[in-house]
Symmetry: C2
Subunit: 224 residues, 2 copies
């Protein structure tokens, strides 16, 4: 669980602060609700919690509970207002401005991430890629020129990168993450199979194939 | 939260059944504890909750709480017995026998998964890969010959696949998942950016880059 301090005022008016406890699972569903709303036809003005529930794979009560944290715009018995709820979720998710993303490592995984179309659609611009391999440095992938990782700190600062993606081998991940943080990055998405130790004000998300497979394996054991 | 019915007996002796409620976050940490234990030197017989906590990035109280569900072998004030805890976690995670994995889609992402070394190490054998592209069918990647996806049902049954990985474009993901399930697969790991609707006895885990980025973006908003 996360304890969040939210400013409801504008600018320096921080007089009104709400404290909310929102589970990490609720937060993980917000992008899924947003995706649902983005897929609704332009002519449809409202949507029900049942509709969102079907799109996200939870029940309608969970949808109402998740969204209740954010005072969603809607009319009881009619549903949520599609445009307003979409704007609200985009604001909550910090998607009203583009994020500038750097990726370290352009092996198979790094290339898959660079070529992934959903990334720019969702408001994330990959602005630079780094590698150590002279055969990869200078190559252009999806419009991005691969830079020498020796230049990481300078380029991350110059391009005002806010999110660093790590797609290096496990052995290099911690050192690269430390360099991202030293250059001012405060959010790291780690695809390498290693646990990063970073300052407590740095957000880290980890995506690891073998961990995901082991979680599936656990649940499979419960079925038998 | 998951409600789990566990048989503690052997064979058909199901007289003793414990019911446990274990959070999905605890389950997600079990593979991380196992990785820590695997990295401990062969000569070290016990390890403390502090040691596991440092490796996983939680505090020691969380480690003790997580492991308390599984009656871990250890001595108070000394620590957990490394070998016995490793065996226990491997059993709980269903890793005492190899899982047979099929992957659909061998674009950049599928290739990254096929070449990922942690997969076999963790007890998962990718035994077959499928694609629709005639230029990819017949190619060998990491020892696996890419098969025509038209053969999916037959090959999945022949090779006794238990886990299906979906690395197709979003538009193809549901149809491929349905075919995996029809062929007997009960665990699906979905890398395509779409929500799958499958029977309730099928476990689905979803890994989606843009969702992960949006979650990071949310937390970044809380820092400001």
């Amino acid at each position: 669980m996360l304890t969040l301090a939210r400013a409801t005022g504008q600018g320096t008016n921080l007089a009104l602060v709400k404290r909310r406890r929102i589970s990490t699972e609720t937060i993980a569903r917000l992008p899924l609700y947003l995706r649902c709303l983005n897929e609704i036809n332009a002519g449809q003005l409202t949507c029900s919690s049942d509709e969102l529930a079907a799109g996200v794979g939870v029940n309608a009560a969970q949808v109402r509970k998740d969204l209740s944290y954010f005072s969603p715009p809607g009319v009881r018995g009619v549903g949520y207002r599609v445009d307003a709820l979409r704007d609200l979720l985009r604001t909550e998710l910090g998607l009203t401005e583009k994020h500038r993303v750097a990726i370290a490592g352009v092996g198979n995984l790094g290339r898959a991430i660079l070529l992934y179309p959903g990334c720019t659609d969702a408001g994330f611009d990959i602005v630079v890629a780094f590698d150590t391999d002279p055969l990869r440095i200078g190559a252009t992938l999806n419009g991005i020129v691969v830079d020498d990782i020796a230049n990481l700190e300078r380029v991350v600062r110059e391009k005002a990168v806010t999110i660093g993606i790590i797609a290096t081998p496990a052995g290099a991940a911690q050192a690269v993450a430390d360099r991202f943080v030293a250059a001012g990055v405060r959010s790291v998405l780690n695809f390498a199979p290693s646990v990063l130790k970073l300052r407590s004000d740095v957000q880290v998300r980890r995506v690891d194939l073998s961990t995901e497979l082991q979680i599936l394996s656990y649940h499979q054991g419960q079925l038998g």
